[in-house]
Assembly symmetry: C2
Homo-oligomer: 324 residues x 2
């Protein structure tokens, strides 16, 4: 790193480390010993693939940390700290200031300090790497592998808004939306400022049997739970909680957004049917609505039906491929 | 992430997690509680800035982890695990296989398993992010801030070879090297396959008063120790241990490579003069030679002299700016 880049870090990303932590400014950060297990998640965000070059840098700073906090939420872990890697083609002070603001605001809201990083000029577009740490007693960690036949399937919040916003920003032809500007205004925040469901993940410790965050689309992410748990499932597409702008779409488009749409960062989790009161309590405690959308079944495969119980003929693409 | 990318990860980067660790395949990795502090370091490697597009991918896999292990070494930490972020413009199976081989070989040599990651297509060139974890009792961690006036200044191994190799690969004009091919053959390994000095870092616990790894050049990195310790120092440029191909250069070029050359990944550390026998013992235990190159002084500033004790008039650039 060159002198100018040290200054860059110092100006925007150095704050005093919290008590017990040796932060930015040595070869490593030192995190104090903890009695719980350490949950670790890492994500790369690449310009042109995970975000548009002209995205609001405050939103980008927020989202870079949010997607990682969402992984902690899906494990029922309490965020403790994170490190940041930032490769930038050029150094733009105003951009960095805004990025840091968005990042720190979310970090502060979750008591999750930045403790180290690496910043470099280079690359054709920006690349952001965040690695986040959390604490969770190992026996209480929410895993993908704990779903059992008979369990309910739940999702938090609303689905589809981020996907619709992305389609609108890409000006997708054929999208049956009369007022595109109004629809974008209603959905863009879901895409750019996702709220990681950390409080819900913590409240679901000892309640949920399995959990995952919806980053690649419900079908694909629920599929990971089912694969890890050796189960199948049934989901009613018309029971899925859809954002208002998505609910207003014709059924096939609505299902495409809710079943296949990624970048959601809501939780999908399973819980035994007799835990419904405890799920409701966890939802109330976290202040996040949850909806029951299906059931885990013996065997394999994911059966998606409409409200009448008839199987859907064609499903949205199974994998969410970001901007590709 | 799309289906094809999941396959990519599965094929090259999924190995069973070690006992006590929940590895690749859930939202987070879970590291077991440890009584020591957790040392954390993160580095980004960007194509065209930190490595050439045509670099041997095995070497790149090695170096991606090596530069992070070197940070643990500089803290006296024992490596425990790492996570990997990989953004690739295209998916090349042979390249990935070789990259994974180089990465895993070094990870295995240090008992440091890969426990999680994120792989994505995107970007104009490859970007590699590694975050590594280590264990060190907090009281024994080697910090930058512990140097005191009167302490000796030491460096491990030899300096300058990586810098000379880079100059040769860039075909730098004016370089006074008669047989460039032979010089490159003698120095290239230092640039592409650096050996992190983990064993030396562990052996220096309780012996060294401060330590850093030389990534940006001795002048700059020693400068970080002095700044953190509020001290000055005197270094004799002609006492610096130089790789043979570097020692053969005229004095001004030799000093440029040893004082300013980055990408070294040797340790620079300080220790009280009465600890010399224990430094020698640590060096022998780790099997890594060390050389005494100067002394910490009261005040500020770094004075560099030649063998006669006369100050050097012009010093190499203070910051190592990679390929810029």
């Amino acid at each position: 790193m060159a002198g100018g880049e040290f200054d860059l870090i110092r100006r925007h990303f150095t704050r005093p480390a919290p008590p017990g932590v040796l932060g930015v400014g040595d070869d490593c950060a030192l995190l104090p010993p903890q009695a719980a297990a350490t949950a670790v998640s890492t994500d790369l965000l690449v310009e042109g693939r995970h975000f548009f070059p002209d995205v609001d840098p405050r939103a980008l700073g927020h989202k870079s940390l949010a997607v990682n906090l969402s992984d902690l939420a899906a494990m029922g872990a309490q965020p403790t700290a994170f490190v940041l890697g930032l490769a930038l083609p050029r150094i733009d002070d105003a951009w960095l200031e805004a990025f840091a603001q968005g990042l720190y605001a979310l970090a502060d809201a979750h008591g999750c300090p930045l403790v180290g990083g690496d910043t470099t000029r280079g690359g054709a577009g920006a690349t952001i790497s965040v690695t986040v740490f959390g604490a969770v007693p190992e026996a209480l960690a929410l895993r993908r592998s704990g779903a059992r036949p008979g369990d309910d399937i739940w999702v938090s919040g609303e689905l589809g808004a981020a996907d619709l916003a992305l389609r609108l920003l890409l000006d997708e032809p054929g999208l049956p939306v009369a007022d595109r500007a109004a629809a974008l205004a209603a959905t863009r925040r879901a895409l750019e400022w996702p709220e990681p469901r950390v409080a819900l993940g913590l409240a679901l410790r000892g309640v949920a049997s399995a959990a995952i965050d919806i980053s690649d689309g419900l079908l694909q992410d629920l599929g990971h739970i089912l694969a890890a748990s050796n189960c199948g499932a049934r989901v009613c597409a018309d029971d899925l909680p859809a954002a208002a702008a998505v609910a207003a779409l014709p059924p096939d488009w609505r299902r495409r957004c809710t079943l296949g749409g990624g970048d959601v960062y809501e939780l999908c989790f399973t819980a035994p049917a007799d835990a419904r009161p405890r799920v409701a309590e966890a939802s109330a405690r976290a202040g996040v609505p949850v909806a029951r959308v299906g059931a885990v079944e013996a065997g394999t495969g994911l059966r998606v039906t409409d409200a009448s119980g008839a199987p859907l003929r064609s499903l949205p693409r199974a994998g969410y491929d970001h901007f590709a």
